[in-house]
């Protein structure tokens, strides 16, 4: 990983990877959404409402996957002081927050016709909302810390502490009786019928690729901004030096 400590080497790979991920993500998402909207049959109980699952499930996984990424980057920031890790954590946070929000919104839209309510404070819904708020806190903290310097150690501690919520979200439906149903997809198999299941991996990998593309774009933006700031500082220092000499010259002329 320390090979990428040099931003130039990272950018050489990140630039084409962004385009590839974006293209792949758009194609897979389009295929999954079209399949999920027009090809799969409706569910025996929920009818057409079931189709929201092709958006809801990937956004839920990526909302949690985003914080997993922040936690790994935080570990790299604290332990190895990897210069790109804090850049990555700052890049992931708003993208992860967006996916967590989409998960909450689509779940709410699904819950109204299915359960008969927009929102209930059960274990799964509450812990997912906490994840969204953690994202907002992390964004604010990381932005405030960035003003002082790029190392991002305080936000990294927050990133590791916040990761405690991830197993709580995952196990909430097993530990407590919840309104939210249990897991449909486990390592041992799936309780979603195959004819309803197949668009889900398409949207899952599609959204993951879009997530990755957005994170790489944001990382490149921050690296470019850092270079601009450094260049502006150098120019300001140079012109201040010139300004000081011309200023004294003028003073002497007056």
């Amino acid at each position: 990983m320390h090979r990428f400590a040099n931003p130039v080497r990272f950018l050489k790979i990140a630039r084409p990877a962004t385009a590839w991920l974006l293209g792949l993500g758009l194609v897979l998402t389009a295929a999954g959404v079209l399949g999920g909207l027009f090809v799969t049959p409706p569910d025996y109980l929920q009818g057409e409402t079931v189709r929201i699952l092709y958006i809801h499930v990937p956004t839920a996984w990526l909302g949690m996957g985003g914080w997993t990424g922040i936690a790994v980057a935080s570990l790299a920031t604290i332990v190895w002081r990897h210069p790109l890790a804090s850049v990555a954590a700052r890049a992931i946070a708003p993208v992860g927050a967006t996916f967590a929000f989409l998960c909450l919104a689509t779940g709410s839209i699904w819950g109204r016709p299915t359960w008969g309510t927009w929102w209930e404070w059960d274990g799964r819904l509450t812990s997912m909302l906490v994840l969204f708020f953690l994202y907002l806190g992390n964004i604010a903290l990381a932005a405030a810390e960035r003003e002082r310097g790029p190392d991002g150690r305080i936000a990294a501690i927050f990133g590791l502490v916040g990761a405690v919520n991830l197993p709580i979200i995952h196990f909430s439906v097993q530990w407590w009786r919840t309104l939210h149903q249990g897991e449909s997809i486990k390592l041992t198999g799936s309780s979603i019928a195959p004819e309803l299941l197949w668009p889900l991996p398409l949207t899952l990998f599609g959204f993951s690729a879009l997530f990755g593309a957005a994170v790489l774009m944001r990382m490149r933006t921050e690296l470019a901004q850092t270079r601009i700031e450094a260049r502006l500082r150098r120019m300001a220092a140079a012109s201040a030096g010139r300004g000081a000499s011309t200023g004294s010259g003028q003073a002497a002329a007056v």
Binding site: G116, E120, P167, W176, G182, L196
Partner: protein
Amino acid sequence: MRAAPKHQRLALVLLAMAALVGAALLAMWGLGDRAAYFRTPQDIAAGRADVGQPLRLGGMVQQGSIEKQPDGVSIRFVVTDGPASVPVQFRGITPDLFKEGSGVVAEGRLTPAGVFTADTILAKHDERYMPPQLGNQAAELATRQTLDR
């Protein structure tokens, strides 16, 4: 020999994370049953629910138990979890997915007579998704297994 600073930091972070996760697990374990979103008919049979206090009752709508009342807007049905069951009365509109043999969560109070008076009815969906042509029998069986857990 002193360990390298990065190894010290790694050990420190791992220790801190282990302590944090341990604390969180203890807290969740302590929360236990109080974090449950609903009570089951077995809880009520065992006397773990106070009469007259607001509570949620979850279970399966017993087959053949839904009776429309003469006033046209009230219904009575029985919520069961297998070993125990509770009669419920409700006045209002139920969600589309509320039907016999499927999961339900009712919000309301238990009357001294042992009848649950519901203010709100929520349908509980389970983790199975299938096309309409597959029968409902498999669904009912699995819902019962989910509730037993």
